[in-house]
Amino acid sequence: MAELKHDKKSDRILFTKEMRRDYKILAPNMLPVHFKLFEKVLQRAGYDVEVLTNDGHQVVEEGLKHVHNDTCYPALLVIGQMIDALNSGKYDVNKTALMITQTGGGCRASNYIHLLRKALKSAGYANVPVISVNMSGLESNPGFSLTPSLIMQVVAGLVYGDLLMLLNNQVKAYELNKGESEALVDSWAERLLEQFSHGKGLLGDDFRNNLKRIADEFDAIPVKRVPKVKVGIVGEIYVKYSPLANNKLEEFLASQDCEVMVPGLMGFVLFKIDNRLDDIMLYGGSTIKYKFVSFLKDFCTKMESAMLDALREHPNFVVPSPYAHLRSLVNGVIGYGSKMGEGWLLTAEMLELCESGYENIVCAQPFGCLPNHINGKGMIGRIRKVCPNANITPIDYDPSATKVNQENRIKLMLAVARENLDERIAAQATKNAKAGDIEVDIISDNQGARNADNVIEVEIETSEDKPENQSAGVE
């Protein structure tokens, strides 16, 4: 074990430079593909990171034991997963550190790291250092630093992750040979990891070419496009993405013959960056900070565009809206100051899903999630006013919420969705018949730009008495 050094102010154990050399760092998993890529990026930067994949019952048990049971479910799972890993005997606990993100926002999530430390103490691992990954200047460690270059590489990994997830979802539901799309995800993950380990694929042309090739290869998978119920998943970020938390929601929806759309992680990153700008605009603040944050935002926006550009070349794919458009969608619906947790972005994602034909939505949240009272459940009525077709079901997740209950509610949402879909097909059929077509062809092949049919016109009320506070605040 390395020498333990404590932070003077908070007394926490620091992750030292010495530890960086021979400690294994365990990190929680939220999105399997993304996190695998992050793992590689961090390894290349000299951190022996391992993203945890242990799941199952034991994880929940450990969480329940060591975390206040009224705390949000993600905290319970993430901490449970870590303790379960330490218990497993697979790691030398004297040479293991843990890593967790901290957003510094006003919701409970920023407290996970403290809950983790408490849990470690009660589980007998008080000497295991915990590294906070944050960009709010919350906690720092001599042995870990988020350098600009590291940040850029992580962002690149994130874009790949988003693209693979997006394409996989759009192809998987229609592929002729089951499993082909998943296999392509795996193969690309392998290829990217290989490239990363040679310092390639993270920047410039390398990066763009990869994106393009990924899109090309997914488009080449043979598919049969039949009208299917299209479901979007939004919610608290961990529950939205993590199969461990949402009882394999994507898998369940696939088994119900749906196409699934899960908005990517980049939106959330841009949202969190943008919050700082909004804060300055709404309440005043430093222009230097404003400029620095703007730079970061521009960088991420460029990365996002690179991905969207790659997609735009393929009419078969639904291209998600850029962050800027998401932002514009909530204008007049909810204020940009609403930034805790997923904040207004959650509302925006629901509106965007409706706009792009995924008006059937599961809004997944941990039981008792505070920001979701506001931005999720609190906004559903409002979203339905803007977009009457929205068919949203909020689902609570927690250690003892049962699958039966959750699936029953999702099935209700799907029953409505199917009825809507049938009506749309029938309407389309009448239209076609009127236009003189004898055969009603509801099956279109690869050529059809299938989003065209499904797009619902969404008009956003712009309330005139609430113009955006754009110009204000920044001198």
Binding site: R108, Y283, I334, H373, S400, A401, T402, K403, R409, L412
Partner: protein, 974 residues
């Protein structure tokens, strides 16, 4: 031919329809969780009745999903099925309300189709009504009859079954009339349905009532009619809508013989999360029973005994326990009974028996404890009453003098306490209303599965694969059990799983223990629930320790009370003698205390000889008729101070401010700011129940905290009063008091204006100013404020705004200073009188009497002075805590706790609103700060309704412990 089968959570229904859509067969019965068997029965019956082999068949219902998968019969989701039926049978329906065994649904059919089901935290449904009827000891249909005779209505929590139960129990114990409670229960169901499911959509037009409860209970329908102000219709076949929908929605021909065959060969797979069995062998069990049978109390034959004896009564929430002991603590007589809603007759007949059959036993000391402590004490003129915790500790010491931890699981409560090195109680844990996985919980399940409770528990002892049911509240458990059944768990494994879940609930939810070291090595377990060997074994297994379970585990409260009586006896007892008992008379009347704004509902118990006992009161005023001494209660002072901010008419018009959440602290700021600018600031009045109900239909999230829910009523009140500008800004940040790492508001406080804006239809009628404002940056604020205001009014010159802002900041400081001065004054006067000082901590809005339910008065009634956390939070230097200290209000809690450590005569009681996610973090931290300095942590969870009985126990336990500690430390130093 079409067949629809609806397998709900408690019943199975089917219809057979001919090709013209006429129903030719139908049936409705309870399935007692025998889902596979009953479905098979249905299929066989239908096959026989119709003689057809092929039919269009589909299945529906929450318990139908498993069956559907197993034998490939198509599933029609149940709400969707109702909709299909409505479309066909009642096409002019606007809204349908359907209550089932465990689900509640509202279908908005016209004006934007929308279907809603209750979330996972809601149980005001058929099962809930059954549970309540059991509690009242009548059948559900008798309950309906009773409700017709109701004269008044009590407020019963409309969140979930468990809450309601804890509201009803004290009513029963206070002697409220069954008819009134029955009616109140139906109204609670209505409120729950509306609060949970309407979410801002008005229920109007042609309303249809469907499902079992609404079909069977006329009073439930009229409660809905009354609340919704309309006349709903309960159509023919209202029980069968789901089944009809399933039949109509069936699009696949099913071969019945084949389905019957598949179903009858369906193998139960047992594919669920399981845990270690309780006992692997009979030998293990024998060893276990032998070990536990050692802890007994000697008995003396009452027939031969002559002489002094002591009487102890424990009037619990569902049971009543009595013992008579000798001076040596030997048991002469004991009794353990269900109190059937009224403990008085039980005690009466016990005493009658005693006097008649054992004339030689002379009671010279009598003590009561438990929920009904005061009622029993007054009714039978006992010598003393003690708080339950004291009673239990007294009894536990009898078995283990150096006991370190006592855990008592009773019918409704879990009470645990840790005993410190000096023999003082140093932490008390009581279950919250939302985690009452206790004895009555096991009983409810036993009944649901049609098993007597003792037999049901025994079933689990040798279960091979107990189901892992987690550790949440009863409502969750219902669906977990349903899931387990679906997954093929046997009743034995479910029984074992339930026993284990009771233990886990106590350990992880109530005590928050993570290892045996947290509890100590010397543990006494007691309470009726531990008489259940499965629960006892689960406890030992989970904690890995061997514990002592007294053979009289269920009588420990009464035994402790009797021991107390024997120690404090002066040689004779005031207890009613045989003659007085013969003239005993008990009648109950209700009234309302009008002496203060709490308007307590009083239950007046009248006994013979004009003896009277009033319950339901928070303070002594209705009893003594003296005005309570408010002067040492800062909660009162704060409310009075807020009243000083009266409207001053001004040239710029009226601005309404809803008085909820952070406004309780920021009113001085906003009032000054707007008044200076020439606005007349009108506030909504102090909250009350009616105001809450006014806004409840527009609440979108039923699990948000009650203070937030109240905001809907405040805003609605302002709108109804004709205010056309309402100011309720969003505020991510609060003032920076420099005590933490940041100075946020919690997400709900910060952004609730968005929810109001998005969900209250009438908000469109007014100018609603809910912009984002940052008072934490005084330099930037005036300009930003000016910009915001310019969106709604003619531009106000910046100089004017600046001057008003300066005044506002000054007034806020002034307000805080006055609060602190008042606090100082209370502290010094309390010290002069030698009173205990309680720092009643929470958030600023906890001074709202509708939110705190007069708990401040209860504390004052214990002869303590009350200050709030903000009085002392500035008295410590910034220090680091073990959590991210980033919310202004919460930082004050940590600081106050830290300060309390330095003050021997101060203790902290934390008020926590149910559903407050952030308090999951603060409570643990406040507790650990307090315990680090040897102080007792007391938490009181409050919600829409609060069971003041439980709060009283908590407070009295605290005061008893403080007293003990004083005595002990006095002994030590002296």
């Amino acid at each position: 031919m079409r067949i629809g089968i609806d397998v709900g959570s408690t019943t199975i229904k089917y219809v057979v329809m001919d090709d013209l859509g006429n129903i030719i067969h139908k049936s409705y019965e309870r399935h007692l969780s025998q889902i596979t068997e009953k479905t098979l029965d249905v299929l066989k019956t239908v096959r026989e009745l119709t003689g057809t082999r092929q039919a269009l068949l589909s299945i529906s219902g929450s318990a139908g999903m498993g069956i559907s998968e197993a034998c490939s019969i198509p599933l029609v989701q149940e709400v969707f099925a109702s909709r299909i039926a409505l479309k066909n049978l009642l096409p002019d329906t606007d809204v349908a309300i359907e209550l089932g065994g465990e689900d509640a649904k509202i279908l908005f059919v016209t004006g934007g189709m929308e279907f809603r089901m209750n979330g996972s935290c809601a149980g005001g449904t058929g099962a809930f009504i059954d549970q309540m009827a059991t509690l009242l000891n009548i059948t559900p249909s008798e309950m309906n009859e009773e409700a017709k005779k109701a004269e008044r209505r009590y407020t019963i929590a409309s969140r979930c079954g468990v809450f309601a139960k804890t509201d009803i129990q004290p009513l029963l114990n206070q002697g409220a009339r069954t008819s009134d409670i029955s009616s109140s229960i139906f109204y609670a169901v209505v409120n729950q349905t509306i609060a949970g499911l309407a979410q801002g959509r008005p229920i109007e037009g042609n309303v249809v009532y469907l499902g079992g409860p609404l079909t069977f209970f006329s009073e439930l329908r009229s409660a809905f009619d009354d609340t919704l102000k309309l006349k709903g219709k309960c159509p023919e076949n209202s029980l069968y809508y789901v089944a009809i929908g399933a039949a109509l929605g069936a699009d696949t021909e099913i071969n019945l013989d084949k389905a019957i065959d598949t179903l009858s060969r369906m193998k139960v797979v047992g594919n669920y999360n399981s845990i270690e069995p309780l006992f692997k062998s009979q030998a293990e069990y024998d060893e276990f029973t032998a070990r536990h049978s050692a802890h007994t109390i000697e008995r003396v034959d009452p027939k031969t005994y002559k002489g002094d004896a002591f009487f102890g009564v424990d009037a619990g929430s569902t049971t009543i326990k009595m013992v008579v002991i000798t001076r040596e603590g030997r048991i002469l007589l004991d009794s353990y009974n269900s109190n059937k809603g009224n403990p008085v007759p039980n005690v009466k007949s016990f005493l009658e028996d005693l006097y008649r059959n054992y004339p030689d036993i002379k009671i010279i000391g009598a003590t009561s404890t438990g929920y009904g402590e005061e009622l029993i004490k007054n009714a039978f003129s006992l010598d003393s009453g003690i708080v339950e915790t004291t009673a239990h500790l007294t009894a536990a010491r009898r078995f283990m003098p150096d006991v370190e931890f006592v855990i008592d699981i009773g019918g409704q409560d879990i009470k645990c306490f840790k005993i410190g090195s000096k023999g003082e109680i140093d932490s008390i844990f009581l279950n919250e209303a939302c985690s009452s996985g206790c004895g009555s919980f096991l009983q409810t399940f036993a009944e649901a599965l049609n098993q007597p409770i003792d037999k049901f528990a025994m079933l689990g002892l040798f279960a091979d694969k107990p189901v892992d049911l987690g550790s949440r509240c009863t409502v969750f458990m219902n669906s977990s059990v349903k899931q387990a059944q679906k997954d093929g768990a046997s009743i034995e494994n479910i029984s074992a799983g339930l026993s284990i879940s009771v233990v886990k609930n106590a350990l992880y939810k109530v005590i928050r223990a993570s290892s045996p070291d947290d509890l100590g090595k010397k543990i006494v377990v007691q309470g009726g629930t531990f008489l259940n060997d499965a629960v006892l074994r689960a406890f030992e297994q989970e904690m890995g320790v061997e514990v002592v379970r007294p053979a009289i585990a269920g009588l420990m409260g009464a035994y402790g009370a009797a021991l107390y009586a024997s120690r404090h006896s002066n040689g004779s007892s005031k207890i009613l003698n045989a003659e007085q008992l013969a003239n005993f008379f008990h009648n109950v009347k209700d009234s309302r205390c009008g002496l203060c704004s709490n308007n307590c509902r009083l239950t007046v118990n009248i006994f013979d000889n004009n003896r009277k006992f009033i319950s339901g009161n928070r303070c002594d005023r209705p009893v003594t008729r003296r005005k309570a001494d408010d002067s040492l209660n800062i909660y009162d002072f704060k409310l009075k101070m807020l009243k000083e901010y009266q409207p001053v008419s001004g040239p710029r018009g009226k601005i309404g401010i809803p008085m909820g959440l952070n406004m309780f602290e920021l009113l001085p700021f906003w009032h000054t700011l707007f008044t200076k600018l020439g606005f007349e600031v009108v506030t909504s009045p102090l909250s009350n129940r009616k105001m809450y109900l006014l806004g409840q239909a527009t609440i979108p999230s039923d699990t948000v905290c009650f203070p937030a829910k109240l905001m809907h009523g405040h805003v609605q009140t302002l709108i109804n009063d004709g205010i056309d500008v309402i100011f309720y800004p969003c505020m991510s940040y609060n003032f920076d008091e420099k005590m933490g790492d940041n100075h946020y508001n919690c997400p709900v406080v910060a952004y609730y204006p968005e929810v109001i804006h998005a969900n209250m239809p009438d908000i469109a009628k007014v100018k609603f100013i809910n912009d984002y404002l940052g008072i934490h940056r005084p330099k930037d604020f005036p300009k930003k404020f000016q910009q915001v205001m310019s969106k709604y009014f003619d531009i106000i010159p910046l100089e004017e705004v600046k001057a008003a802002c300066d005044a506002a900041y000054a007034e806020y400081d002034n307000y805080l200073r006055r609060v602190r001065e008042c606090g100082d004054d209370i502290i010094s006067r309390a010290r002069e009188k030698g009173m205990q000082i309680i720092v009643l901590s929470g958030r600023p809005y906890h001074i709202d009497p509708e939110i705190n339910h007069g708990i401040d008065k209860l504390v004052a009634g214990c002869n303590a002075a009350i200050i709030s956390e903000d009085v002392v939070s500035n008295r410590v230097e910034k220090f680091s805590v073990k959590v991210l200290n980033q919310w202004t209000y919460h930082s004050r809690l940590y600081a106050a706790a830290k300060y309390v450590l330095t003050q021997p005569d101060m203790n902290l009681v934390q008020l926590v609103s149910f559903g407050c996610g952030i308090d999951a973090i603060t409570t643990d931290e406040v507790r650990s700060i307090l315990e680090s300095g040897g102080k007792i942590y007391t938490q009181i969870k409050i919600d829409e309704i609060t069971n003041l009985g439980a709060v009283k126990i908590r407070l009295r336990s605290l005061f008893a412990a403080i007293e003990d500690n004083c005595v002990n430390s006095g002994e030590q130093t002296g």
